[in-house]
């Protein structure tokens, strides 16, 4: 049927990978044996592509809280908060998020993707402008497409280009939403947030920062890049996810703008999605307490990140610009990426293989995410697996 024709390129790309003995989109973790270990293809494998930055997925307090909530409130809410009502846990988590970020209000969403979609579509509509960093995540692009506003890119972290585009907008800057990320998900580099916040203030625009990969990772209190850069007062909206450093699933937005409460009623992705289950809310609340109470987890995370970054750099791999919990090996050739990824898996190390068009520059990446929970032995095994790539020959690939 013709309706399926558009899927043909995907089908042939997947077949090419399978011809190389690789099925990277269907990796099965047959058993999870430890916080950062699973059995894949019958082999014990270290997980280095999880985004589980603080290693909280097996934290006993988080598990206990989730189990209690399951027993007391059941497996799910079975509907949206607008229709089915709020559970006390939803309200408590929003209160705790607002307090953690020192903001007046917070909204909890069901996933990070929904949080971005929900905020962008409620904030910007026809007649408005959205200006995003070109390296932003797909969820931000999707939010822009759905919003109905005009949307434009500025060159990644290029403050001159951002300013030029704001200048061209003239009075429309008052209706402009700038969107950037704390840590960019592909290369692990940070937004130049001090400069961006200053330019935003100068032109009277609105700024939303997605701290998905920087919550719990950056800042003395773990609030993210805005805290670390000392510009929280100049950031209108902080959006984030629970599915990385907090080890669960869900998303949020915090803000001092009183209109945030109205966004609940204007955001279709919020209104028409089932709310997070009680167990998710309970374990997220515990994880947030841990982010506040255990700064040593951040120290351990950064120690592991610096170690892996330096060792891969010493092996002459081309990496992102600076050490980060996201460490991406940049390659020029898809065949090499596939061969490397396959060899890493054979050596018991799982990383994310990111192929174009999902990458920012059209080249493939082998993306590692480091955790506070990785043991020195696991970091060593990751390094040894990368060292083994020297003698890998590249298989043929059709496309």
């Amino acid at each position: 049927m013709a309706i399926f024709d558009k899927l043909h390129p995907i089908s042939s790309a997947l077949q090419d990978l399978k011809n190389c003995g690789v099925d990277s989109v269907n990796v099965v973790m047959e058993r999870i044996t430890a916080p950062f270990e699973a059995v894949i293809n019958g082999r014990r494998t270290v997980l280095a592509g999880t985004n589980n930055y603080l290693g909280l997925t097996f934290d006993q307090e988080c598990i206990r809280a989730a189990c209690e909530a399951l027993q007391q409130e059941g497996t799910g809410t079975t509907g949206s908060r607008m229709a089915n009502g709020n559970y006390a846990g939803h309200i408590a988590l929003e209160r705790e998020l607002a307090k953690f970020f020192g903001r007046n209000g917070a909204i909890v969403f069901s996933t990070g993707y929904v949080a971005i979609l929900g905020m962008i579509t409620a904030l910007a509509g026809p007649g408005d402008v959205i200006l995003i960093d070109s390296d932003c995540h797909a969820s931000i692009y999707d939010g822009c497409r759905l919003a109905g506003a005009q949307f434009m890119l500025f060159k990644h972290n290029d403050i001159g280009d951002l300013e030029k585009r704001l200048r061209r907008l003239g009075k429309q800057t008052e209706n402009t939403l700038i969107v950037v990320e704390g840590i960019y998900s592909m290369l692990g580099d940070r937004a130049m947030l001090s400069d961006i916040a200053a330019v935003k203030k100068n032109y009277g625009a609105c700024l939303l920062v997605d701290e998905a990969h920087s919550l719990g990772v950056l800042g003395k209190q773990g609030r993210g890049l805005a805290e670390e850069a000392g510009v929280e007062d100049n950031v209108d909206f902080i959006v984030g996810t629970f599915s990385k450093s907090l080890g669960t699933i869900g998303g949020f937005c915090v803000s001092n703008h009183p209109q945030l409460e109205l966004i609940r009623c204007a955001s279709r992705p919020y209104i028409f999605t089932a709310s997070p289950s009680p167990s998710i809310i309970a374990s997220t609340r515990e994880a947030l307490k841990i982010v506040r109470a255990r700064p040593e987890l951040r120290s351990r995370l950064w120690k592991n990140a610096r170690t892996l970054y330096q060792r891969l750099k010493d092996m002459d791999f081309v990496l992102g610009p600076a050490p980060s919990p996201i460490i991406s090996v940049r390659l020029k050739d898809k065949r090499k990426a596939v061969a490397f990824w396959r060899r890493l898996l054979e050596h018991g190390v799982y990383v994310n293989m990111v192929l174009p068009p999902a990458t920012t520059d059209g080249n493939p990446l082998l993306r590692c995410s480091v955790s506070a929970g990785h043991t020195p032995e696991q970091v060593k095994q990751i390094c040894e697996a990368f060292a083994s790539l020297r003698d890998v020959s590249e298989p043929p690939l059709m496309s």
Binding site: S134, Q150, F151, M152, K155, D361, G362
Partner: protein, 83 residues
């Protein structure tokens, strides 16, 4: 309002460095089909056009741009909105 013919001529001048196969450029030239521009090249072309006219082109217009004629028409509309 910017003259449409002048816009087409100027666009062809800007597009020429992207025309690796040296095909004949005219209003009906298909940017993806005839010039073989991938998405990264399209963005590069867009930025060059933006800087030439000191204008920002929203990405929302891209689905409406297939040929040089489409591009000139969208550009003419954006320039008139600015003035």
């Amino acid at each position: 309002m910017q003259d449409y013919r002048e816009l087409v001529v100027k666009l062809c001048d800007i597009i020429r460095p992207f025309n690796k196969d040296g095909i004949d450029l005219n209003e009906e030239t298909d940017l993806a089909g005839d010039l073989g521009l991938d998405s990264l090249k399209v963005v590069e072309l867009l930025v060059t056009v933006e800087d030439s006219f000191d204008i920002s082109i929203p990405l929302n217009v891209l689905p409406h741009v297939r040929t040089i004629k489409d591009f000139a028409e969208q550009l003419q509309r954006l320039l008139s909105e600015r003035s």
